[in-house]
């Protein structure tokens, strides 16, 4: 056991809830996601929240792009769906994460997916309406 300068054993502080990442806001999680590499440690809730916010940001960006270009029709919508799933899949594969520890591919890919589709549709429709009409 490590000791202080006066020879008394140092008290190890117990992990607090802050280490779980559940308290981190979306900006902090997104910054961590962008800086993460194969050695970054992820708690379960922290990772799921990060995946959620990554999808929302992607939905926002795609909605703006699709509306400005514009990309229309079912093909454009399916293109977003494919891009959304593929981008998150590639991101967590790059982290060399064992997805079984976090619920498997299904949990990671489905986390935040319905809200991201709704956000994409809102932004796409709004941008298309404002820019094109």
């Amino acid at each position: 056991m490590s000791t202080s300068a006066v020879g008394k054993p140092l008290q190890r502080q117990p992990s607090t809830s802050k280490t779980l990442g559940a308290e981190k806001g979306p900006v902090a999680l997104l910054v961590k996601a962008l800086r993460a590499d194969a050695h970054t440690h992820w708690e379960e809730e922290e990772l799921l929240n990060t995946v959620h916010w990554l999808k929302q940001v992607l939905a926002l960006v795609c909605g703006l792009l699709w509306g400005v270009v514009p990309l229309t029709g079912l093909a454009a919508f399916l293109g977003f769906v494919a891009l959304n799933l593929a981008a998150v899949f590639c991101w967590y594969r790059m982290q060399r994460l064992d997805e079984d520890l976090y619920g498997g591919h299904q949990v990671l890919l489905s986390e935040g997916f319905p809200p991201s589709v709704a956000v994409f549709l809102i932004v796409w429709i709004a941008t298309f309406t404002v820019v094109q009409h």
């Binding site: 992990s15 607090t16 779980l20 809730e45 589709v117 709704a118 429709i125 298309f128 404002v130």
Partner: protein, 185 residues
Amino acid sequence: MVVGLPDIVEVVLFNFLAVLLSEIALYYAKYRQTGFKSVKEAVRRQVNRDSGKNGLGKLKSGRERKLERKDNNLKRDATKEVAMLRVYQGGVTAVMIFTVYRALNLAFWAKSIAKLPFEPASFLRMLAHRGLESPAANDCSMAFVLALCQLGIRPNLSLALGWGPSRRMNAMSAVIPNQQDVAAR
């Protein structure tokens, strides 16, 4: 409503404010209650404890049995808190949606507020063209945008504010005890 903003932007902003107000109402009604906060904190401590565990062995020591009893009590408390929360959430959400729909109806009934960049499928057409007289294929009614806002804004705002139950708390409240847990009791 507000001069200068496109109709769809007004509807989205109005929905955002309504969802924010409903979350604040839930915070004062439920999230800041001592019972809810203590269960939420206990679940967080359990997650912290479990993350260092390698799993229970086949032979359970007295301490492990005690912890298991504590976990079962926590599951019961979490289930109770989340069930009560669902009642509050249902009530607040219903009142909010009803109010927002009535308010937006007054301003945007029979008016296309946006142009859709796609032709809605048959099962969406009724919602996308709700209240519109002789709509074009890609006309969009207020009701469709309202539905999308509820699906998109609410979960994101809840997660960003972080006031509600954690994922673990929701998962615990939905756990059905398996045969091992029942036999251990």
